[in-house]
């Protein structure tokens, strides 16, 4: 067995046996699943307590204009009751009381809602909406135009629902979903970002561990420093892959398990659906928009839309860019780990590595809005930013030549950084107690040695 595979084996096994890895592998999917399931669960648990709100209307313009709902009851009291309600609020059993001081068309802020607890958004929103509807129709009536109310309600019915269709090279049409595309591209960009950071840092820590525990000299008397570095980088890459795979499989298992246990008959409310329900309580217009977007997510058409993203191609590209980016950065992380003695020294060297990663994420965010822009193009070519930015562009279809060029540059990029990092690493791991700066690193890089 070749030595580098021995090193990969050790790096891999020693990491996946760690408690932290096992905990993360279990907690991650639970968190993901919770993100999907908990809002639905919370919605189903919503309190069913009936709240009564006292209304004291000094203008006498609005009595009876707020209708009771299932959970909100309104009692319109005499004008002089305000003092009593205020003084005996606790005993009165009211949830809140509403005081209207003036004509709201003239004084929109002449209304206050009092309570001894925080008033829910639902209650406030409902009162606001009811009075607004009433004021609107009052205003319409004041124009004294026949049938105006019908005209306005007609206008409110107008809505459009754009379907986006992608034309394939062969002229075939596929229904696509702009929302889904955006979501997928965002998810990929963010995954790449997260994993490059988490596992790059692991490489750095691993190198530092070997250096500070002084085992490195024993090992490089058996293998070349470059083999040790690459073995570590590849071993940790496999840990990352294992983690992704475990998360994906476990998340699916948990979600389907929860679905079977708690929502056996009905379709499980998705997060978006719950949000729509919650928003309908406050903001009907936004909720309608969400609902129309949600239509795109019904299962009949979702398959076709996922297909329009070419899942296999996307997945393969994701793996390529993820690995390319990881290799490129983890080599640099390894060089830092080799150069420094203490974790506290890492700051100054981390910065130049962190900046391009963070810039990539920003550019990726812009890419969702304008995937064909010059900025997106250039940043998807530069190897330091392409793993994240290109992943954000891929769901929007990238010309083949751009993809090829970007991939070739990335391969060149990581070959360069591993070569560069290897030179620094080799000298650094045997240097103890030396204050390292960039000038020193440059010296190490130029130093021929072997």
């Amino acid at each position: 067995m070749s030595k580098i595979s021995l090193i990969i084996e050790r790096e891999y096994l020693s990491r996946i046996r760690k408690k932290s890895f096992i905990v993360m592998s279990i907690l991650g999917p639970i968190l993901f699943a919770a993100l999907m399931v908990v809002p639905a669960w919370l919605a189903s648990m919503e309190d069913d307590e009936v709240k009564t709100i006292a209304v004291i209307d000094h203008t006498n313009l609005y009595s009876g204009q707020i209708e009771d709902t299932e959970l909100l009851k309104f009692e319109f009291l005499q004008e002089n009751a305000e003092e009593t309600v205020r003084n005996e609020f606790k005993e009165s059993g009211y949830y809140a009381y509403l005081v209207i001081q003036d004509n709201l068309l003239e004084q929109p802020d002449a209304i206050k809602l009092y309570s001894d607890s925080q008033i829910t958004m639902d209650a406030k929103g409902y009162v606001q909406r009811s009075l607004r509807e009433h004021l609107k129709s009052q205003k319409l009536q004041s124009y004294e135009v026949d049938g105006l109310e019908n005209i306005v309600s007609d206008l409110n019915q107008i809505d459009i629902n754009i379907s986006t269709v992608k034309i394939g090279d062969d002229g075939s049409e596929k229904q696509s979903s702009a929302e889904l595309t955006m979501f997928v591209s965002m998810a990929f960009a963010f995954l790449s970002y997260m994993f490059i950071f988490i596992y790059g840092t692991q490489v750095m820590r691993g190198v530092m561990e070997e250096k500070t525990s002084r085992i490195v000299e024993v090992i490089i008397s058996s293998v070349k420093p470059f083999q040790l570095m690459m073995g570590k980088i590849l071993g940790i890459a496999m840990v990352a892959l294992t983690q992704i795979l475990l998360w994906a499989v476990l998340t699916i298992l948990i979600v389907t398990g929860v679905k079977a246990a708690f929502f056996p008959d009905s379709e499980m409310p998705t997060r978006a659906q719950t949000q729509i329900e919650m928003m309908q309580g406050q903001n009907p217009e936004a909720a309608e928009q969400m609902a129309s977007m949600e239509e795109g997510f019904n299962f009949n058409s979702i398959l076709e839309m996922v297909n329009s993203l070419e899942p296999l191609k996307t997945l393969l590209l994701f793996i390529f860019y993820f690995f390319g980016g990881y290799l490129l950065y983890s080599a640099l992380f390894a060089a830092i780990g080799g150069a420094i003695d203490h974790e506290s020294d890492q700051q100054q060297f981390m910065l130049p590595i962190t900046i391009p990663i963070i810039i990539s994420l920003y550019v990726a965010m812009m890419t969702f809005r304008n995937p064909g822009s010059d900025v997106a193009f250039w940043f998807s070519m530069i190897p330091f930013t392409s793993p994240i930015v290109m992943m954000a562009r891929i769901p929007f279809d990238v010309p083949l030549w751009q993809l090829m060029l970007s991939m070739a540059l990335l391969v060149g990029g990581f070959l360069f950084t591993t070569w560069f990092a290897g030179k620094i690493y080799r000298v650094g791991i045997l240097m103890y107690g030396k204050k390292v700066d960039y000038k020193e690193l440059w010296k190490w890089f130029r130093y021929s040695g072997d």
Binding site: L6, R10, V218, I219, S221, S222, V223, L430
Partner: protein, 313 residues
């Protein structure tokens, strides 16, 4: 023929010369001492032999052939800075390091079993290294170093960190390895710890080999013709005789005995000293004093530093 032959080794670091034209020749099946103060260049030389770094100039022959990457398997190296993976279990780690040296898993297990039994440390197999004391970890590391039965063993500061009992155990094991045919290089600044073990030595200072050769020969060549005599009775008479014929360095009274150190010149011998005083006192013991390697080293460094300044100018 020398087992390991290094000639004209030069190694430069950014702003200093770590090794300046160093030649060493390690005879087959010998114990070779590489002595010198901290920072003399010993570790650099050892790293070059181990192929951890390369020399800027010079050649390195192992068994008459240039040392190659596969020769690394024939070397066992115990670095000065000992280290093991702290979180890894002892047994697992030993197997891993042995496999990196080219042993198969089964061979490694078999040999480890032998050594763990010999050192009576079988109970440590499943412990993590961080649970071991420093001395215990050193034992494990020693086993790992010799497990692949290397022809050349290099120990950097071998006895530092060992208590006297374990240091003795280690010495015995090393002599055993020599008997089995291994060639051993010791590198240390603590010269008294190895001088009785070493057949050959090289003294290194400031990147230069100051002196090389068989230990006894070196000590002889640096002897200062001092004799030590332990006697009793009539110290005044003896003192008078010693002072008149020789150079009396010191005379001390120790528990009713007297100890004298006498310097004689080249023509004189210990016999003459003894015959001069033997009728006046009882002689308990006498011996010619050979300098310790430490003394030799100090002498060499002092001698060479002053004249070398004149030579250079």
């Amino acid at each position: 023929m020398a087992f390991l032959e290094a000639s004209g080794i030069v190694k430069r670091f950014a702003n200093h010369l770590a090794l300046n034209d160093v030649n060493i020749s390690v005879p087959d099946n010998s114990i070779y001492g590489l002595l010198g103060p901290n920072g003399a260049g010993k570790t650099t030389l050892i790293r070059i032999i181990n192929k951890i770094t390369g020399p800027d100039e010079g050649t390195l022959l192992l068994n008459g052939k240039p040392i190659s990457n596969s020769d690394v398997m024939k070397i066992g190296y115990l670095p000065e800075e000992r280290g093991l993976y702290k979180k890894m279990k002892v047994g697992e780690q030993a197997v891993y390091l042995a496999r990196l040296k080219g042993l198969s898993r089964n061979d490694a297990l078999k040999r480890l079993k032998y050594w763990f039994e010999k050192f009576e440390i079988q109970g440590w197999w499943d412990k993590k290294v961080e649970e071991l004391s420093k001395g215990m970890a050193q034992k494990v590391q020693f086993i790992v170093t010799i497990l692949h039965e290397p022809q050349l063993l290099i120990f950097d500061e071998p006895f530092s960190g060992f208590d006297p009992v374990n240091a003795t155990l280690l010495k015995e094991e090393i002599l055993e390895l020599k008997k089995k045919g291994a060639t051993i290089i010791f590198s240390t600044h603590n010269m008294s710890s190895v001088e009785e073990l070493c057949d050959h030595i090289t003294l290194i200072n400031n990147g230069k080999a100051m002196i090389e050769g068989p230990t006894e020969k070196i000590r002889r060549s640096y002897r200062q013709n001092l004799v030590h005599i332990d006697f009793s009775e009539e110290p005044e008479e003896v003192e008078k005789i010693l002072k008149s014929n020789f150079e009396l360095r010191s005379l001390k009274s120790v528990n009713n005995h007297f100890e004298a150190q006498v310097k004689i010149n080249e023509e004189q011998s210990l016999n003459q000293v003894l015959s001069g005083i033997m009728n006046h006192c009882t002689i308990h013991s006498c011996q010619e004093l050979l300098p310790s390697m430490n003394d030799v080293f100090i002498q060499v460094v002092n001698q060479k530093e002053q004249p070398s300044q004149n030579q250079d100018s």
